[in-house]
């Protein structure tokens, strides 16, 4: 199994670094251009949330292989304030007309699975997986 790659998110530039790493990894694993764009978008949203709400944290990207299936796993980890209502943040929101963010509901759409663990005051860990040749 491929080793994990980690990007520390401290400044906004690190969001770009995480995107770059994610795209390279996705290409390496064999995702097509469109899926590379999707995976990168998901990483971007997760990293931006760390930057905005937890200020520091990290993005871990890895190749996943289980039962003949290959995919990419992205884990966003921080020790920030935590998410108040996890179930709510995955629901589509009524946006103000000028909001153009994608947010966690979009991340959920872009990947095959999403798992959020969050403790108020302790931090947040969000793991998403996208499989090759699926969806």
């Amino acid at each position: 199994m491929d080793s994990k790659s980690t990007v520390e998110i401290i400044t906004e530039l690190d969001i770009v670094a995480a995107r770059r790493l994610g795209r390279d990894k996705a290409r390496e694993i064999g995702f097509n251009k469109v899926d590379q764009a999707r995976i990168t978008t998901a990483i971007s949203e997760l990293a931006k949330n760390i930057f905005l709400y937890a200020h520091v944290g990290k993005i871990v990207i890895e190749k996943i292989e289980v039962n003949e299936k290959t995919g990419i796993g992205i884990t966003a980890i921080d020790r920030g304030p935590g998410i108040q209502e996890v179930r709510k943040v995955l629901e589509d929101r009524y946006r103000t007309p000028d909001s153009v963010g994608a947010g966690l509901p979009a991340v959920k759409r872009l990947v095959d699975s999403i798992n959020i663990q969050s403790k108020i005051g302790l931090g947040t860990k969000i793991k998403v997986v996208k499989w090759l040749n699926q969806g």
């Binding site: 764009a37 153009v100 994608a102």
Partner: protein, 330 residues
């Protein structure tokens, strides 16, 4: 997917060769298939990119990069589109729920217009949205007929929920002979206790003594009723300084008596009948008086309907509030 790609490539190259309207027509129909297959905008652009790549094998690298850029930015576009679709579905669910709620409200607040001897009563009550924030409650026994016209400040679901409570408050007061001031005092305490501070109710309560022809009334911040005295040929406003219900505990209300004679009539209404945001200067009460007088030969129900129709015309069918009017003719 590969079949779709091949089809798309064929349609595209046909168009590039001949630029026919029919190619475009076929293309648009084809896109409908892609939508049905749930493809996202970035998928479609990718299909296009691949088709172009195959049609022109000498396409410059830079062109392909430009397509990749478009794919990247369209991911976002597609997400917004998906979210929009899911909100539409949610909206539809809410609409269905609202329909059910409106049906239940209609059952709960159903009013039958009573038919006491010597009085002719008519009513029109039309909600601006599905749920009505206005409510008319009648009670009637051998000696008394009473009527409450209420308006919750606010509209929609919160107003409707509050209204159910007002209805049960009125129901528990049970007796048509209760004093109007007493009714308002009791309701005020109920509402003040049980509804949040931003919710107020205006209410006009009238009780008619069928034997002595005395109409006793009291009002909690409600649109003044109109009383037409046919002997004097004059309209009076039935108005008091009573506070809206639900603001303070233990408010006292005054009540007043008038004697109704034959051909007198009363018009009870909510402010939806008189407040027109688009025509602030307009003397709506004056208009209603003139109109009512000119149609006072009609039945009470017909009078209500004519007033509603005329006001609707006047406002270009743009009435902006729950609209309730009750006419009582002696």
């Amino acid at each position: 997917m590969n079949k779709l790609k091949a089809q798309y490539k064929r349609i595209l190259s046909d168009y590039i060769q001949s630029q026919n309207e029919s190619n475009l027509y076929i293309g648009q129909n084809f896109i409908k298939q892609l939508i049905q297959k749930n493809l996202t905008p970035e998928d479609v652009i990718d299909i296009h990119k691949q088709a172009i790549e195959e049609i022109y094998n000498d396409l410059p690298e830079s062109m392909l990069h430009a397509y990749d850029f478009l794919i990247e930015v369209m991911v976002h576009f597609g997400l917004m589109f998906k979210e929009h679709q899911s909100l539409l579905i949610k909206q539809e669910e809410i609409r269905i729920e609202m329909d059910v709620a409106a049906k239940i409200q209609n059952l709960l607040l159903e009013t039958t217009i009573p038919n006491p001897k010597d009085l002719d009563i008519g009513m029109v009550s039309v909600p601006i949205r599905k749920l009505n924030g206005d409510y008319v409650h009648f009670m009637h026994n051998q000696n008394y007929f009473s009527v409450a016209v209420t308006d919750v400040v606010g509209k929609g679901v919160p107003a409707a929920l509050c209204m159910s409570m007002v209805k049960y408050g009125l129901d528990t007061l049970e007796y048509a002979r209760s004093n109007p001031s007493y009714v308002l005092e009791v309701l005020n305490n109920i509402i003040e206790k049980s509804v949040d501070d931003s919710m107020f109710v205006s209410l006009f309560y009238g009780r008619f003594d069928l034997e002595n022809n005395i109409f006793t009334w009291s009002s909690a911040g409600h649109e003044p009723a109109l009383y037409y005295n046919s002997t004097e040929q004059t309209f009076y406003d039935l108005e008091t300084k009573g506070l809206l219900l639900g603001i303070l505990q233990e408010v006292k209300y005054n009540q007043h008596d008038i004697k109704l004679n034959d051909n007198d009539f009363l018009i009870l209404m909510t402010d939806g009948v008189t407040d027109f945001r688009e025509m602030e200067e307009f003397d709506s009460r004056g208009y209603i008086k003139d109109l009512a007088l000119s149609i006072s030969h009609l039945t009470a129900q017909e009078m209500c309907e004519v007033i509603y129709e005329k006001l609707q015309e006047l406002l270009n069918f743009n009435i902006e509030d729950d609209f309730t009017i009750v006419v009582i003719k002696k």
